[in-house]
């Protein structure tokens, strides 16, 4: 037996309420099967979305116990084992406008994806120039990103998206990496600029999107790859300054202090009020000077430590 609680939403009256259903389960039953069973036998008015039933198209995303998953990939008996209770709470994906019950409006995601120009714009070659070759490392990264089906789970797990309207979310930032890595593409700088405007440096690299992604795309690492490109091409100023000054502080002292008063990494920033600041301790740190840096690894950053 499983008690399934579904949060429901009426578009006309704009009210939310919770319905609960009791259902008998097998070992191999998925949540999508349960939802279909409820719709056929218990309540015909329940609305939800699904496509291929095997997790290839990402249309059946829902929140299970406040954690976004694909309904067709979630085994019910395993969920009961993990959470140690027969109650399962099902909610629509967060950070999307609601339409009805579990159905959610993803058109904003798709439109903003279309605005990124997700196709190759070729760079014009000079007369005797040979077309550049793409390395194997880059191809493995791009082919990994190509698996994305815009299911929107990463966007619903992101908590900065909930707060900040200027941040566009991990899904679209990660997908724009494909053209940025591509050597043949001609509009590298405009692409990076637009991703900076979409809130590239607002991501806190919390890795909750990596955890949730059903295809193991790891969007937060993709975002840090775009940041590397930003630093290399010297496009935005604020974020790279922050990273570089933190790296410098690390090289000199062996530590990065987020709560330092005397030397803030960013000039003219609004600082958090400092509670604890020991000057002596800081001086001791400066004396220490740990040998943590190696030249081979600095070469990637192209002299940004100087």
């Amino acid at each position: 037996m499983a008690i399934i609680k579904i949060s429901r939403f009426d578009a006309e009256s704009k009210k939310t309420y919770v319905d609960s259903y009791k259902i008998e389960i097998n070992e191999n039953i998925t949540l999508l099967d349960v939802l279909l069973k409820i719709k056929e036998e218990l309540d015909g008015s329940l609305a939800f979305e699904y496509g291929c039933k095997s997790g290839l198209d990402g249309s059946d995303g829902i929140n299970v116990n406040k954690r976004p998953v694909l309904a067709s990939q979630a085994n019910v008996s395993k969920i009961i084992m993990d959470y140690k209770s027969e109650e399962i709470l099902i909610e629509p994906l967060s950070n999307f406008p609601l339409i009805k019950d579990l159905v959610v409006d993803k058109s904003g995601l798709w439109n903003s994806y279309a605005n990124t120009n997700p196709f190759l714009i070729e760079r014009k070659l000079k007369r005797n120039e040979k077309p550049a070759e793409i390395g194997n490392d880059v191809i493995s990264k791009i082919s990994k990103l190509n698996d994305c089906n815009l299911c929107g789970l990463c966007n619903s797990s992101c908590e900065i998206l909930k707060i900040d309207n200027e941040f566009i979310g991990p899904a679209i930032l990660a997908m724009s990496l494909r053209q940025i890595l591509d050597v043949r593409d001609g509009e590298l700088k405009t692409r990076i600029k637009s991703s900076v405007n979409r809130g590239l440096w607002k991501c806190s690299q919390f890795m909750s999107c990596n955890d949730v992604c059903p295809k193991d795309i790891e969007p937060s690492f993709a975002i840090s790859d775009i940041r590397i490109a930003d630093i290399k091409n010297k496009i935005s100023s604020r974020g790279p300054k922050y990273v570089n000054s933190a790296a410098k502080e690390f090289r000199n002292t062996g530590k990065i202090r987020y709560f330092s008063k005397n030397k803030s990494p960013v000039k003219n920033s609004q600082q958090i009020p400092v509670i604890y600041d020991d000057v002596e301790e800081r001086e001791n740190l400066v004396r220490k000077k740990l040998p943590c840096y190696y030249k081979e690894h600095e070469d990637y950053a192209e002299g940004y430590f100087k």
């Binding site: 806190s204 709560f259 958090i272 030249k295 690894h297």
Partner: protein
Amino acid sequence: MKKKHRFVDKKKFVKRNVVENSAKNNRSEKAKSKEEKVKFKEEPNQKREGFGYEDIAAEEEKKIDHGLIFERLISRHDEEKKSKTLKDEISELNQIKLSREEKEDNGAQKENGEISFDNLLKDGKDLKLNITDEEINEISEKGRKKDSGFFSVNESLNAKNGEDRKIFKIQFVKDEKKPFIQKVGNAERNDYLQEFALFSVCSDCGQKDVSISVCEKLGIRLKEFDDFSCCCSGLLDNLNPNLSLVINARNMAIAQVNDLSIVTLDNNCRQTLSKAGFDLENEDMRKEINKTLNKINLKIEPGIKIKSVLEIIMEYPDPSKFKSLISQNLSGLKIAPFYGANFFVPQKYFKGFPYYKPDLMEKLILFIGGQVFDFPEKTNNLFADNQQLFYKNQIKLVGEICKNLEGASLIVTPCVSQQVLLDSLQKKARKYSKVKTIPVLHVSQLVGLGMGMGYKELGLHKLRIRPKKLLKKNGLYF
């Protein structure tokens, strides 16, 4: 019409250019002479203060043995302790006067003068020295007394009978690679139930000392290492992901030399270190990282455990002893546990950890004798990474966490940076949460409170939101 315009424009353009260029040339000559003067002033050696990293980089280009460089660095680092360093020994060696001879293809060239062993180390060549037997004996004795034995005298070349001075060959010798960190003795270890390597936080403000003293009462030793560096909490991934991997691999290798597992006071450190541990399970990656680690005689192998203080306390083998240590009555306190999502996320880095329904902190609170205040936001996101860039976002995050906290008397976290953020920003976040400010404690401080440690010993007077009134109400202290 268009053609005419273009034609005219071009002519004008050419004329202007000629005029401007001639003017420029006149100017540039004057400017050049000025620049040269300025340059001459600036040119004298401007050495940058600080680490002296440039010296090392220059030396590395000459391809000297890397182990030596790091040994010297470490010796420089140990000068404060006033132990006998490599530099002192070299200065002793310099007192011996030697004559120097360098051989070239055409023939022998002799130079008379003093030889300094500093240069000898820098050049990285095998040197042939023209010296007497007695001097050689002195060098070899002093050279071999040192545990590393970094140079030795090999052969005598062109030895002629009856002459005092002979030509000897001095070589650098690589000894067996020894870890440069002192090991903890087994005799010390037996005094304690358990032992861990303490990885303290950069934003530490007294929690380190509290957790050391709390664990000592339980019979757990948290050993500090001066050689640990910051974990960088993923910030340097934005420059180069391999760099942050090397830094964390070095930290973990230091713990591995001593057969200890690492204990952190902060969630961010725990997350980044365990991420590095996950990446180093890959063999190819480990080989690459080990190449750079070998330069400081360290090596990393998979299988290092990384834990937080909370986990240690909850896995403590002798609960009856723990219970006997608790002396203060905390039954009046409603304590809200806040984990922070990076205690669990991403799941693949924390294998075998109770991810779904967290109950570690709740068990601890009940064990000490307090009441649990449950709230749904206890696994929310709160990160100290780019707080200085986006200050307002941080306040909103704190506001969301405190939304449903009406009625709670304390918040407890296992993470130092989360504690500092919650403590300092709660007042400003009141417009989002509309809840009165609540004092925030670290886990170690809560256990210390139960054990009856002093108010200032726990560092509670340093907090911005002070728990003085609350404790007074419950009959604790004052």
